[in-house]
Point group: C2
């Protein structure tokens, strides 16, 4: 019997990559890293290749290839990233943020690989196509972010007809207690300071605007086949409860844990089994208090877009995601104000109402057009 | 295909019986009540017979039989109670408190009936015999109290090797914030005011001394085959989280819900399915805050007996349970002080160390002797 799982890690140098490598490093008897990719960070990529002895290596941005010093051959360019995802393995981890990871993740499924996905944007924009393809190919899509992993762990498919609703928790981000009148002066350096999770800049800003949670609503709808009225969001600053499943008999099943990406990653990579990770144990006595609040939609209007766009599930989520990526990028470059992020997303959603995409190419086309419109609105900001 | 489950309800006039009848009343398309028993309350028993059209009726205390007015024949006496449990059905609910329910519950299993058990004392005193018999007869023992139902719902048998520990929550009872120096003056009327649950007097006092939780530790050990070091207790006054299962990968699965016995009863009667109960929905936003504390073993020394007696799992739990029943009874009759309850239990445990029981008769014999000793200590109290 094969005892190790073969893993391909797309996006090995980002925050998900870092957690995945920590997990694999500490469980070398369970996992075998057979392929990795990075986009820019060729130094770290080389180090990972040498540490984990990874035979299949891809750098998607060819510009930095000359600095590679890994002991296996380097393949360069985005087509090689697609080829990497085709290699037969037990599970592909998609840790590439934004839309760049879309094709590679889809290819993984299309070639019969299970997919552990940490990439919200992919499921938000093209979720239905992913789910349909995964059913066709009989492969699993395993969520890696803590909220969806929580729901995944608490849902019992046998009881799905008795599901009342699910609750996604939100830390509330760094501006939970900041008065609305200060919001226009929020700077990028304030927005990327997330109170709970150490994450990339884009995701940290999404968390600060709570558009992160809007994307998660859409993601949950896709992953668990739920209509928008079955998904609730509660602000929970301690972020110990990651998600709850409410059944119609009054039972609520929840997933809790200290914030550590390694746990949901481990769940995805081992399911239906679990690993022994020797982590710090969660103690409710030490935590002492868990609090819960209704999200403030005046301060975080972006959150509402999660439910709103689910009314037209095949198109608006793509526009939401694309315009948000543009707006956040402009905010991080100090071109627009924090409060403009929502305005640009909202204007783009109102202006551009594409027809329902029929395939992945349509999604990419809609995404491209939405970005153009968003950029146009960004330039209009004074 | 049979669509209704045939139910026998032992102890139909107590608090468990009341909840069970509410559940059956609201789900007449799912359940068919084919047998009931009561001990004293012949008026209520008669009403239940007439309302639910129950053909098999037992009154275990013959004294009150003359007042029976149900439309089916009444069978009288404790032997008839045993016969009732023998009738083939889908599930027997044991809602009889104390040791009186022991034989009938055991008979239910021995005759191949699944058993929904709300009777701590039975599992504490004779749990191993129940578990072994249920395995032999291939029947299920389904916990009905909220804490064990919580653990039952959260445990995934596939992951049992990766279980780190479980946490049972305790409301802390009415004296959680009462200073220790006032404990000697606590009166029965104070002790039976439980802050969360409406329960019988005996259980309310157990909750006030936290000996209730000691019994639950033993019960959990038996039901889920856990050693004492795998069972933690946390005081959680809001009593919204009923139990937690901590896995070695850092994931914690918890069961939450508004306090209502009907939910765990419904879980036991429908498992692995669930019912649609139209209950008030739990809202974390309305609850706002959940708090957690370390139990104060100076104020509640009885709690520690749960772990202590698990060191000799075949005997001391019987003595603990028996001596506690005597002490609580004397306290409720104003014969001893609140603080004497623990002292009497502790003295009995220290004085009487029986040999390991080999069968149910041994358990009953040990129980009887322990009661005598406890009563002796009770009479010595000045």
């Amino acid at each position: 019997m094969k005892t190790k799982k073969d893993i391909i890690l797309l996006g090995s140098t980002g925050s998900i990559g870092e957690s995945a490598l920590r997990l694999i490093r500490e469980n070398r008897d369970k996992f075998n890293l057979i392929g990795i990719s990075a986009h820019n960070n060729v130094k770290l990529l080389s180090e990972i290749v040498n540490e984990f002895d990874v035979p299949n290596v891809v750098l998607s941005n060819e510009k930095n290839a000359k600095d590679y010093f890994g002991k296996y051959e380097l393949n360069v360019g985005s087509l090689c990233l697609i080829d990497l995802a085709k290699i037969k393995c037990d599970i592909v981890i998609s840790g590439i943020i934004g839309m760049s990871g879309l094709h590679a993740a889809y290819t993984a499924i299309n070639y019969g690989n299970d997919l552990a996905i940490a990439n919200k944007e992919t499921l938000v924009s093209a979720g239905k196509f992913f789910i349909n393809k995964s059913k066709e190919k009989n492969v699993k899509i395993l969520p890696v972010d803590s909220e969806h992993s929580a729901i995944f762990q608490c849902l019992n498919n046998k009881n799905i007809s008795r599901l009342d609703h699910i609750t996604l928790t939100a830390s509330g981000g760094p501006f939970l207690n900041t008065p609305l009148e200060y919001f226009k002066n929020i700077k990028p350096q304030d927005a990327i300071k997330h109170p709970v999770w150490k994450m990339g800049k884009k995701i940290s800003v999404d968390s600060a605007t709570m558009i992160n949670k809007a994307l998660e609503i859409i993601e949950a709808s896709v992953l668990f086949n739920l209509s928008s009225n079955k998904i609730d969001v509660v602000v929970h600053p301690e972020h110990i409860i990651h998600g709850l499943v409410h059944y119609k008999d009054g039972s609520v099943i929840a997933n809790l844990g200290l914030p550590d990406m390694i746990t949901p990653l481990s769940v995805a990579l081992s399911w239906p089994n679990r690993l022994d990770l020797k982590l710090k144990k969660m103690s409710l006595v030490n935590i002492n208090k868990l609090t819960f609040f209704k999200p403030d939609l005046d301060k975080f209007p972006g959150l509402k877009l999660g439910w709103d766009t689910l009314q037209s599930p095949y198109c608006s989520p793509v526009v939401l995601n694309a315009s948000n990526e543009i707006a956040v990028d402009c905010f991080l470059k100090n071109k627009i104000r924090y409060t403009d992020i929502f305005n640009i997303v909202d204007e783009t959603l109102n202006f551009y109402n594409p027809t329902k995409p029929q395939n992945l190419d349509d999604v990419i086309e809609i995404d491209k057009i939405a970005r153009k419109h968003a950029l146009k609105f960004t330039n209009k900001v004074d």
